[in-house]
């Protein structure tokens, strides 16, 4: 599957199938700090991601002036 990461923006290839929480663990990303989007749909931690899926791991943390 192709995985889009941000900050900085980059694409990585990851072999499927694997569950969302496994993918995040492999990427070293905290679940609380991202959303995982397949195509244009959010997916939960237990969803299985397959080869051929287009995945975005979108950061949700913002921390500028408050």
């Amino acid at each position: 599957m192709r995985v889009l990461l941000r900050n900085p923006r980059r694409l990585v290839e990851v072999a499927g199938p694997r569950r969302v929480h496994e993918l995040l663990a492999e990427l070293g990303v905290r679940r609380e700090s991202v959303l995982v989007i397949r195509g244009d749909t959010l997916v939960t931690d237990d969803a299985v991601l397959d080869d051929g899926d287009e995945i975005e791991v979108r950061p949700v943390i913002s921390g500028g002036a408050l």
């Binding site: 905290r30 959303l35 959010l42 969803a47 943390i61 500028g64 002036a65």
Partner: protein, 310 residues
């Protein structure tokens, strides 16, 4: 994973609530949480006009969207911060949202109106960029609300923001800041009421809300914020949250229930000492307010380096 409300397939799980939701029930959850904050903290009176501080990011656009859906008369205010391409794109998202919802967006461009952008202003005033940005926002949002006859300024501070600020204030025992860290700051001479209707929602929820509502927002982090303390506090709290879901909410709402009142006298003492800025008339504890001092520093002519005598 099934939706807790309707048992349809879920798209997001919220470990803090030990729940998962389908798209429709998740949007219902977000609106319910905001409605509960508005009611519990008496944020908006009947017929009051609200000005939403809009940045083009997920929190402020989601807040504006929810308030409009709840029937609140809410206009938006976007500040152009002069942070290059980031500001240009942020403004585009804010305008696109306002246009799509048929809502009124007021714009103030700091470089055009005051002659400097936040990066240059911060450097000239020898402030951290986020500090110069924050004080400019607080000043200009309040000023626009006063001039526009609004009763309330609403900001998109969410649970993660508030927990991280609380964490930083506790680390330093910044007692005056602790006393002011409330979901509602009442109106006072020269200040309109400030409210934070998103305090019951985390920033992961706000990003999910935008995705599910089809709201485009600027996903990239502000280049000025990279590596700041606040992001470090959020990361630390998220590490705790992963092993103990609900910790951030317990920390923040526990403070509101059992801690905040202890710091109120200090806030009152500062309020009693407020005077008026000699330059702009805003409330301040000094002769001129910190925003006017920032403007002075940022727009002062550059001094030629003095030549040393040999």
């Amino acid at each position: 994973m099934k939706c807790r409300r309707c048992r349809q397939p879920a798209v997001i799980e919220l470990r803090r609530h030990n729940a998962a939701f389908c798209p429709e029930c998740f949007l219902h959850h977000c609106r319910s949480q905001v409605r509960r904050s508005l009611e519990d903290f008496h944020m908006i009176g009947e017929g009051e006009r609200v000005l939403v501080a809009v940045s083009g990011g997920k929190d402020s656009l989601a807040l504006w969207d929810i308030l409009l859906d709840l029937g609140v008369a809410a206009d938006g205010l976007y500040l152009g911060l002069g942070i290059g391409d980031y500001s240009d794109r942020s403004g585009e998202f804010a305008r696109a949202f306002a246009s799509g919802r048929g809502a009124r967006l007021i714009e103030v461009d700091i470089p055009s109106a005051y002659g400097f952008g936040i990066p240059e202003g911060a450097a000239a005033a020898r402030r951290v960029p986020c500090s110069a940005c924050g004080l400019s926002k607080r000043h200009l949002f309040n000023q626009a609300a006063v001039e526009g006859g609004y009763d309330v300024v609403a900001t998109g501070h969410n649970l993660d923001d508030e927990a991280a600020v609380l964490f930083g204030n506790v680390l330093r025992w910044s007692t005056e800041y602790l006393g002011r860290q409330l979901p509602v700051l009442p109106a006072a001479d020269g200040f309109v009421r400030k409210i934070k209707p998103l305090v019951r929602l985390g920033e992961r929820e706000m990003a999910a809300y935008c995705v599910l509502r089809g709201i485009d927002y600027i996903v990239e982090e502000c280049p000025m914020a990279e590596g700041n303390k606040h992001l470090g506090y959020k990361d630390a709290l998220n590490a705790v949250e992963e092993t103990s879901p609900g910790s951030k909410a317990a920390f923040y709402f526990g403070f509101l229930d059992r801690g905040a009142a202890h710091f109120a006298p200090e806030v009152e003492a500062v309020r009693q000492s407020l005077g008026t800025c000699a330059a702009c008339g805003s409330p301040t504890t000094g002769e001129t307010c910190s925003f006017c001092r920032l403007v002075d520093a940022a727009t002062a002519p550059l001094q030629a380096p003095t030549r040393r005598r040999r």
